[in-house]
């Protein structure tokens, strides 16, 4: 069957960012829902119960900071204050590390500004023994557990106390005791590994769950498909998290296929229940995290969660978003700031105040400063003690074979 004479000229669609430096910021296309509007399915509901969730947005906090709807959990002010503290501390940590990078104390840094609620609230849904397979933007998972900042900083500074022995790029932490898997520089690879880890836990009957993390840009990688498929087939205790912060370096989420369907929708094509959540709403993230973790723990199989958020900071310290984003891009973002929103909620329920907030902020900044001073005392990338060159040849294998010993000797060690 040939096309009719009137068939349109063939052409391709090239997805474009809604906004570029020459425009005003515009996120009016982001699909969202009013707070409290989206139902909470039974954890063992049929896939059909999730169909609409892929196109909507679970939100608990409304514009006035009130918790509402079926995803609002019984209030636990202390837990929420802990969450606020974790987010504030993460932000203070990021700010300090960027400064240290600018001072030339290390080569590189990556912030999670604006996305703090996701890692901080999700971590609260996890238990000792669970394992996160994070990306470079989930430092909040460590900070929410009060993992020693000095330890993190020493990794960033590649100094003598860097447990990674200066091998990894800054922010590529590893902390088995915190359920934090070693970060890979290769996007996506850890997503399917999390599925394998969860399979192993289930094979051995261990009551542990795995959590996979990926950016919306990296869902394009092959490992994302493999992870969804294997999770669908074997139904291991894994939660598959997608952090959609709208940007992958310079390319908008539309380039990752976000304009044709949501990232949550991907999972349903594999028969995996999925939810889409306001990632700047601490209460929503926590509620959905609890829900998905419980599903995994109760052998009900994998869940995919798309967290909708916004990357406030540059991609990394090597990046300059003024080259590709609208100048007022951030202010056009409709879902606000996670810290401001949780603060408003806590103040609204009478469990927080401006004064306590300012005091906490100051205390955390002091804590971060003190940690920074201590970390610096162990050296920095270009200055002071660091791992001996002899260590470069360790851990390639459990024991260095002759050729690595020879090479070490050739280097003079």
């Amino acid at each position: 069957m040939l096309q009719s004479r009137s068939a349109p000229t063939p052409s391709l669609h090239f997805p474009e960012s809604p906004t570029r430096p020459e425009h005003a910021g515009d996120y009016s296309e982001v699909v969202f829902s009013a707070a409290g509007e989206v139902e909470r399915p039974a954890p063992d509901a049929d896939l059909a119960a999730f169909r609409d969730h892929a196109g909507r947005l679970i939100r608990v906090l409304d514009d006035e900071g009130r918790a509402c709807g079926p995803w609002a959990q019984p209030s636990d002010p202390q837990a929420l204050r802990n969450g606020l503290r974790a987010m504030l501390k993460t932000r203070a940590y990021d700010a300090r590390m960027v400064r240290m990078q600018r001072q030339g104390l290390t080569s590189f840094y990556m912030q999670c500004t604006g996305e703090e609620a996701i890692a901080c609230a999700f971590q609260a849904a996890l238990a000792k023994g669970d394992m996160n397979f994070p990306t470079y933007r989930q430092q909040g998972l460590l900070i929410a557990q009060d993992w020693p900042l000095v330890d993190m900083m020493c990794q960033v500074l590649s100094n003598a106390k860097d447990r990674m022995k200066g091998r990894q790029l800054p922010v590529f932490y590893s902390a088995p005791d915190a359920g934090f898997f070693s970060i890979s520089g290769n996007l996506g690879t850890q997503y399917v590994q999390a599925v394998g880890w969860a399979m192993a836990a289930a094979i051995h009957g261990a009551r542990k769950i795995a959590v996979a993390w990926i950016g919306e840009g990296a869902t394009a990688e092959s490992d994302f498909h493999a992870a969804l498929l294997f999770a669908s087939v074997y139904r291991p205790p894994v939660v598959l998290n997608v952090v959609n912060n709208q940007w992958a370096i310079s390319s908008n989420q539309a380039v990752a296929g976000g304009a044709q369907s949501t990232f949550a929708a991907r999972a349903q094509g594999y028969g995996i229940p999925s939810l889409r959540v306001d990632g700047n709403d601490y209460l929503a993230v926590r509620a959905v995290g609890d829900w998905a973790a419980a599903r995994a723990r109760n052998n009900l199989g994998p869940t995919l969660i798309e967290f909708v958020t916004y990357r406030v900071a540059p991609h990394s310290t090597s990046d300059d978003p003024s080259k590709y984003r609208a100048r007022n891009d951030q202010s056009a973002w409709p879902l606000g700031d996670p810290i401001d929103r949780l603060k408003m909620h806590l103040i609204g329920i009478g469990e927080w105040s401006e004064e306590r907030h300012v005091a906490l902020q100051a205390k955390l900044e002091a804590e971060v400063s003190q940690a920074a001073a201590e970390a610096r005392s162990y050296g920095t990338l270009h200055d002071g003690p660091k791992a001996s060159p002899a260590t470069m040849f360790e851990d390639v294998f459990k024991e260095a074979p002759w050729h690595l010993r020879e090479q070490r000797q050739a280097l003079g060690y």
Binding site: N186, V195, G196, I203, L229, F230, V396
Partner: protein
């Protein structure tokens, strides 16, 4: 000593290890119910249950990806890639992840997995069922690469690989599965049960990774070979009458350099044989190392007899395969100078 095939050897090794060590699991395409297209895992699912031996989707990325996650958890996965020619979709997980996990995490996490894959030609498998990609593994630091040439070694090396704390690539020359093969494709097939190299001990034992074996002692020329080529080299030596010392490398990384240097220092002549393509093949590494270490002992140039730098063709398989004739000519040439 009982005899058995290489397939039985591999099956035995996995069977013994699943029974001995609750961390061992095996999986891959058609590996579970059916027991693999070469039947290397036949019966294991029935015996040990699907949680120890199971089928996977046709995704090499996924197979190795979950293996890395499982190994990081503490299991000892033995993953099968149906043909080495199909390992490429898994290459990222092998190179960027399995090989580097221990290093990048300074030992926080490790990746003690085994990836088995049939390799090599000789079965009219054409370009996508015949490849020998060992050099693509030997170049990657953090991987051990093993390739047996007989049932005894296959079983002992595979058990050692499963027990090894590092990731091991385990290449199985498929033309050797059912019998030794010396490259004379037009002669009757010899089964392992009729071969002196067909011994297959029962139960648990290991053959150490990193140790070569001298397949045939000799005084005049050293031959470095592995997999199918060990048998081809033997035929070539017998047929030319050259008193060749044939070393079966068994492990490519870490290499048994001592055995090699000792032999070449004695013979002063070296022929390297492999089936993989020539340029940047593993023979290049062997030649580079030996010329440096044995420079003043070498009497003639080191020769490489290898697969050509073309894809493995179907109809012209035996023009591609580096058979006893080509190896024999290299031996004679080494003796000429």
């Amino acid at each position: 000593m009982p005899r058995g095939t290489m397939i039985e050897a591999i099956r035995d090794a996995v069977d013994v290890m699943i029974a001995r060590d609750e961390r061992v699991v095996t999986f891959g395409q058609d590996v579970g119910y059916f027991g693999g297209v070469f039947r290397c895992t036949e019966g294991l699912q029935k015996k040990h249950g699907p949680h120890r031996c199971f089928d996977t989707p046709i995704s090499e990325t996924g197979i190795v990806g979950i293996a890395v996650g499982m190994a990081a958890y503490g299991l000892r996965p033995v993953a099968e890639i149906q043909f080495a020619d199909y390992m490429y979709p898994a290459y990222d997980q092998i190179v960027s992840e399995a090989a580097r996990l221990r290093y990048r995490s300074a030992g926080d996490f490790t990746s003690p997995l085994v990836i088995r894959m049939p390799c090599g030609g000789g079965i009219y498998g054409a370009q996508t069922h015949s490849q020998s990609p060992e050099a693509l593994f030997t170049h990657v630091c953090g991987l051990k690469t093993v390739i047996p040439s007989n049932p005894h070694d296959a079983k002992g090396l595979l058990i050692a690989a499963i027990e090894d704390d590092d990731p091991v690539i385990f290449l199985e020359p498929k033309r050797l599965y059912n019998g030794p093969f010396d490259g004379h494709h037009d002669r009757p097939i010899v089964p392992w049960s009729k071969s002196e190299h067909g011994e297959l001990p029962e139960g648990y034992y290991t053959v150490p990774i990193g140790k070569a074996s001298v397949q045939r002692a000799g005084a005049d020329v050293t031959v470095l070979a592995y997999g199918t080529m060990v048998h081809v080299a033997e035929a070539a030596a017998n047929e030319t009458g050259v008193d060749a010392e044939i070393i079966d490398l068994r492990t490519l990384v870490p290499l048994d350099i001592e055995t090699i240097v000792t032999s070449v220092s004695k013979t002063g002549r070296l022929v390297i044989v492999h089936e993989g393509t020539r340029t940047s093949g593993f023979g290049a590494e062997l030649a580079a190392e030996v010329q440096e270490r044995c420079f003043y002992h070498l009497e003639v140039p080191i020769q490489r007899v290898t697969g050509w730098d073309t894809p493995y063709p179907h109809a012209l398989e035996w023009n591609y395969f580096p058979g006893p004739d080509r190896v024999g000519r290299a031996l004679l040439k080494a003796m000429e100078a």
